[in-house]
Amino acid sequence: MNWFLNFLNSTVGRKIVMSLTGLFLISFLLVHCSVNSLMFLNDDGLFFNEAAHFMASNILIRTIEIFLFLFLIIHILQSVAITRQNMKARTISYSGTSSTSTSKWYSRSMGILGSLILVFLVIHLKDFFIPSRFFDQLGFDSNGTPDMYSEVKEAFQNPAYAMIYVFSMIVLAYHLLHGFQSAFRSLGIYHKKYTPVIEFLGIAFSIIIPAVFAAMPIFFLLKK
């Protein structure tokens, strides 16, 4: 067991933990985005409410949810540990500046982007996750299903609130733009045939998923 802890504590091992937890969070985004897209259906949210109720009550989903939170916490704690270690590796910074940058700004700003996402998550969980899991806070739709749709609709019809969401999705897009392909690199996956495919999927994922999420508040604002 000692070797395993030693593995996870090495600079390479720490990145593997970031990568695996990150990839799990990416898979969660896909599921979350798919279910929420049902809100775009023109049925006053009846189908969405059913899907949301299933996600909130199914024992398998609830079990995976525990792992989701666990991996999210590990991802956060590990990023703090990595950032601290990396800051310790250079305590005096350069004073000379170059007009040309040799790396992408978002690849150097993962900690800041991640922190902004964390702030968003606190707001998001408080406003949507908690009501969705404690049904007594929700009304019921015409099918008698807990009415998550109305809860979301009401929140997003506040323009300031909707803007926080749109901004957070832009932040998420940049975090994913680096994180998606970086996760594969940290696992040592790099191949002339597959890396371009991974990079393409990463860019597509980083644009499409946050764009669909950002479309939700905009959709409800326009619907108002």
């Binding site: 593995f7 250079r90 790099y190």
Partner: protein, 250 residues
């Protein structure tokens, strides 16, 4: 041409250090950056001042001795060159040039622009070699080597261990260097017997020296004078994972 030089001066390891500004009035555009530094030092000696200490040796881009961060970039603004291969024609008349040592806590400044890079030597000693009997060279064609792998190994072996990757990385990570050293052996049959121990020992030494971790920004590859590919870091990760999972005794 005329240049204003803002150079980091530091008496010794424990000195706090700081920038000093110097004027050079007759810089030859054909001079290399190090020759320009030589001219500055002659001027300083004539003025009875202490010359600027900087590392240099072969002055043809193969030894890895010269370092310096010029205007925020290790080995200066040119791609795929060392400081000694950089010429003054790439600077503008009247320009202010900032010259600093490589910055990383694993590369402590010894004096002015000279940093202690023995942490790289210790990483090499931890596994950057193959154990073979000495004697006359064996017949080269006895062991068949795939051409693609041979080329990749050769590309990795071009690393001169200058430390620009560490200097360029925002995390002060040495993974491009270690990746290149691990790769050059991992790709060749002669390196296979000690493959597992090599990567484990070299990564352990790298971590002990206090280098940061790779966050895949790619700054190292962009600044490397030998243009070593980040693919070597991915190979390092792969080698490390498989060694950690398969080696029975550690």
């Amino acid at each position: 041409m005329k240049l204003t030089l803002k150079i980091w001066r530091q008496k010794n390891k424990s000195d706090k250090g700081g920038f000093e500004t110097y004027q050079l009035n007759n810089v030859d555009t054909h001079a290399s950056f190090l020759e320009m530094m030589d001219v500055l030092n002659e001027q300083l000696i004539e003025e009875n001042k202490i010359p600027v200490a900087f590392d240099h040796d072969c002055r043809e881009g193969i030894c890895g001795a010269c370092s310096m961060v010029i205007n925020g970039r290790p080995h200066g603004p040119l791609k795929g060159t060392t400081t000694c291969q950089l010429h003054m024609r790439h600077f503008n008349d009247g320009e202010t040039v900032t010259i600093e040592p490589f910055r990383a806590n694993a590369f402590p400044v010894l004096k002015d622009l000279v940093v202690d890079r023995t942490s790289f030597e210790r990483i090499q000693q931890a596994g950057g070699y193959i154990s073979i009997g000495t004697g006359s060279a064996p017949e080269a064609n006895n062991i068949p080597v795939n051409k693609v792998d041979a080329d990749k190994a050769f590309d990795a072996a071009q690393c001169i261990g200058c430390g620009a990757c560490v200097a360029a990385c925002k995390n002060g990570s040495a993974m491009l260097f270690v990746g290149a050293k691990v790769s050059q052996y991992a790709l060749l049959p002669q390196g296979h017997p000690e493959r597992m121990e090599r990567v484990l020992n070299m990564v352990a030494q790298m971590d002990e020296e206090g280098f940061g971790g790779c966050t895949n920004t790619g700054a190292c590859e962009a600044e490397c004078p030998k243009e070593i590919s980040v693919a070597n870091i991915m190979r390092l990760n792969r080698e490390y994972i498989s060694a950690k999972l398969s080696v029975e005794r550690e």
